[in-house]
Structures are given as structure tokens and as C-alpha cells.
């Protein structure tokens, strides 16, 4: 005999169909409306390279010179090269137009450059470089053999400017038949100095992380414009290995102390066994520090900054543990580089592991916070 519940379910099923299965939460939803931010995911090996300017994906135990930002998707943009090809490469270099301008590039953005060689008439090497004022030269220059018919490089622009291309065909006489320049979505974090690249590792639970050595490792995204909002959210899955104070997980700007609209996340913060998040407007007063997390320890840390609301909130493993309510002054968040693992790429190094890092501008809901923390914990295994 059917009860009322059975009849209700039967009627609902006929009217609206069975309930849709729950869709797993994905951090990309934080950026679905074009919100500014970054999402670095070391568990996605295809999104990383061993060197900042090259495409070879890392294996466990190898350095990571670039990790792509997944917040704005992963599809490359359309080709923006406006220079006429082909280029004839001889012993004199690009003979038809020395150092032609390929396109204009934008500070903070990265580009995939694909060069195709045809009509190989030699056995030497073709030296190539891509230059823009302010670029990090050793990231964007590379030689390759003339037998290679296509090669791909990443170019990271530190300032606005023209991207120019040069080639030196020592001992060869070839034709470069195509050069494409495709903008990469989002803000990639990279490291041009080989010795300062973090190492890709796996923990006992087979979770991937970036190991920062506490000495000179760090990554940088050249410039991220968070100035449309006075609110910022930072989520990190972190293992802090030592009690040395003020280890920098992430910082917007070279130093928050002198940069309105910046933030810093420390693990530990100003005392051993702590975590700390600091955010600010025109006044450097937003601070939240919580103790009781003795090293070594793995945690999901969240920092929520609100300049107009005068709150700086620190959450650990899904629960609020500290909040500062001092007046943060005025203004919006900063348009500054993002440093990961080391302040300004120069000091306060993190001796620890990074499982995930997500930074998002604009206001965030309580549900988005807890959903994101749960997702980060799935990559971290902290609680």
C-alpha cells in the first residue's frame, strides 16, 4: 500500500523528473563572471612547466618554473602576431626585417609563442630570442636545432611594450614560415632563476604539492589588477615545516607594509605555531593572527580582507580563528605583482609545501568560502 510520501515522490517524479545529481564544486565557479584572481593547482601537472619559458611538464622531483593560472580557463587566445612571415634566416639572422615587432604585449600577461621552421637547409642551430622592454631575458631566449620544425616558448611580460623577435641562423640557412603569439588566460606564476624553483613532490597520500626550501625558492605573477574591488579572499593548502617566524606563503606587492590595498599570508606569522593574514587599504592595520598550530603541521588557511568593512579574517581548516577589526582606511585592493613563497622574491622564504593557492577579488559568500575550503582540503588532506 502506498503512503503519502510515496505518492508525493511519484507525483514529483512525473512533474519535474528525478532530482539532478549534485555537481562537484569547482573553484572555476569563483571566476565565472570574470572576477579577477588566480587559481594555482599543483595537482594538475599539465598546467606546469619545469622552466618558465619552456613547455616540458614536471615530473615528481623536478623543479617547477611556471604554474598556469586556471581561474580564467586554459584555452589560449587567438594569434596576435601582426608581423609578416616568412622570415628568411641566414648567417645574418632574420634578413628580411631585423628584429621585427610581432605584437604589443601587456604587463603581467603571458604568451605562448610557436615558431615553425620550414625549408631546412643546414645542420647547425638557430638561436632565437623574444624581447620586450623589462622582460626577464633568460626566460625568453632559447636556441633550438634546425631539425626541429616547430618549437613553443612562453613569454612573460613584466611591462607593456612591443614583443620583438630575432633569430641567428649560425651555420644554417632556413625559413621561419610561421610565428604565432597567443595570449595565455590569467596570470601565470613563474620563476626565471633555476635554483629558486620549487620542487614538485607527492605526499604519503599521493597528493601533489610544491616544496619551497626555506632559502631561495619562490614564484611570481607579474601584475594582477585587483583595483576594481576593496575585498580579497585567499585560500591556501599549506604544510609549514619549521617554526621560523614570518614565512611568506603569498603576498600582493613587494611589501604590504608600504603598499595600500595589499595583503600578506604568513605561515607561521609573527610567532611560532601561528598563522597570520594581513590586509589593508590606505592604512596598514588589518591583521589576524592565531596560535596553537605547532610546526610541522598541514592546514587549509583562508584570509578574507574587506577594506570598507574594516575586517581582516583568518580561518584555519574551515573555521574562523581570528579577526582584526581596525580601521583599514580607504581605497581598493592593489594592482601589484603576486609573490608566492618569498617576499618580493627576495626575503622571508617559506620552508614548506603548497598544495593549492586561490586568490579572488570582489565580495565572497559564506558558502563560497566553505566550498572552496573543502575543495582545497581535498587537495591538501589537512582535516
Amino acid at each position: 500500500m502506498l503512503g503519502m510520501t510515496d505518492l508525493s515522490l511519484s507525483l514529483r517524479s512525473r512533474l519535474v523528473g528525478p532530482a539532478a545529481p549534485a555537481v562537484p564544486y569547482d573553484p572555476s565557479s569563483l571566476f565565472a563572471a570574470g572576477e579577477t584572481g588566480v587559481w594555482y593547482d599543483p595537482s594538475d601537472l599539465a598546467m606546469m612547466s619545469q622552466q618558465a619559458g619552456f613547455t616540458q611538464a614536471p615530473a615528481v622531483g623536478s623543479p617547477v618554473g611556471m604554474i598556469r593560472d586556471k581561474s580564467q580557463g586554459t584555452a589560449f587566445g587567438a594569434n596576435i602576431n601582426t608581423a609578416t612571415v616568412p622570415f628568411d634566416v641566414s648567417n645574418d639572422g632574420v634578413t628580411n626585417t631585423p628584429s621585427p615587432t610581432l605584437c604589443q604585449v601587456q604587463a603581467g600577461k603571458s604568451y605562448r609563442v610557436v615558431v615553425t621552421i620550414s625549408d631546412v637547409r643546414g645542420s647547425g642551430t638557430v638561436g632565437m630570442s623574444f624581447n620586450v622592454a623589462g622582460h626577464w631575458s633568460n626566460m625568453v631566449s632559447a636556441g633550438f636545432t634546425s631539425q626541429v620544425t616547430s618549437t613553443t616558448r612562453y613569454v612573460h611580460a613584466l611591462v607593456d611594450g612591443a614583443l620583438t623577435f630575432t633569430a641567428d641562423g649560425a651555420d644554417v640557412d632556413n625559413t621561419i614560415s610561421a610565428v604565432t603569439v597567443e595570449p595565455m588566460p590569467g596570470y601565470q606564476a613563474f620563476q626565471g632563476t633555476a635554483a629558486s624553483r620549487p620542487i614538485l613532490r607527492q605526499d604519503a597520500g599521493n597528493r601533489y604539492y610544491l616544496e619551497f626550501d626555506g632559502v631561495d625558492d619562490g614564484l611570481m605573477a607579474a601584475k594582477i589588477d585587483f583595483s576594481a574591488s576593496d575585498k580579497i579572499s585567499v585560500f591556501a593548502g599549506v604544510h609549514k615545516a619549521t617554526a621560523t617566524i614570518n614565512q611568506c606563503v603569498a603576498e600582493l606587492s613587494a611589501t604590504r607594509a608600504s603598499t595600500p590595498g595589499a595583503f600578506t599570508m604568513f605561515a607561521p606569522g609573527g610567532s611560532a605555531g601561528s598563522y597570520q593574514f594581513l590586509s589593508r587599504g590606505s592604512a596598514d592595520t588589518g591583521a589576524a593572527l592565531a596560535s596553537g598550530f605547532a610546526e610541522p603541521i598541514t592546514s587549509v588557511i583562508s584570509g578574507i580582507g574587506d577594506i570598507a568593512g574594516d575586517t581582516c579574517t583568518l580561518r584555519v581548516n574551515g573555521a574562523q580563528v581570528a579577526q582584526g577589526t581596525a580601521d583599514q582606511g580607504t581605497g581598493n585592493c592593489a594592482n601589484q605583482p603576486l609573490y608566492v613563497g618569498r617576499r618580493a622574491g627576495a626575503s622571508l622564504p617559506l620552508n614548506g609545501w603548497l598544495y593549492s593557492l586561490i586568490v579572488r577579488g570582489t565580495a565572497i559568500t559564506a558558502k563560497q568560502i566553505t566550498d572552496t575550503e573543502t575543495w582545497v582540503n581535498g587537495k591538501t588532506g589537512a582535516y
Binding site: N138, G192, T193, A194, A195, S196, D213, G214
Partner: protein, 86 residues
Amino acid sequence: MDVFRTVIIAAQHVQMARDEAAKFEGGAGMFTTELSPSGLAPATAYISSGYISDALAAALSQADISEEPPFAAMARLGLKLVQETV
């Protein structure tokens, strides 16, 4: 081929080491981390630790070069990271 090396260079030689390293792919930007016996400024040495090309490692002839993790190499030489203010 890249090899893991911890490289510590005395402060008086650091600029020369930086200039030499910058000649190699991925070598620019090395030796920015300060060391001293007490952990206080001024720095008496600088350290870089990680994967570098074997050609670069061979070129840094005036440095202490080892395969040790950085903190082991620092301990062997009686050096600490210079603590920076926040």
C-alpha cells in the same frame, strides 16, 4: 644536464659569482639570500640552492658547492639565514 646543488659564496665574491651565473640559462638572480654566523646583518655569505646546470655549477669555482640540502650545508659552515624584519 641539471643537478641539485647548494652553493654558498663569501660576501666579498658574491658580485663576481652573480655576474658569472648570469651568463648561463637560469643563472640570473642567484645569491640573493643572506647568511651570517649569528643570523644578524651584515651578511658574510650568500646562498642559492636548487637545480642548476652542471656547466653553471662548474663555473662557480670560488664557492662552497655541495649536494647537501641547504640547511645542512649552512650548519656545516656555521652559517644561519639573516633574519629580516617584517
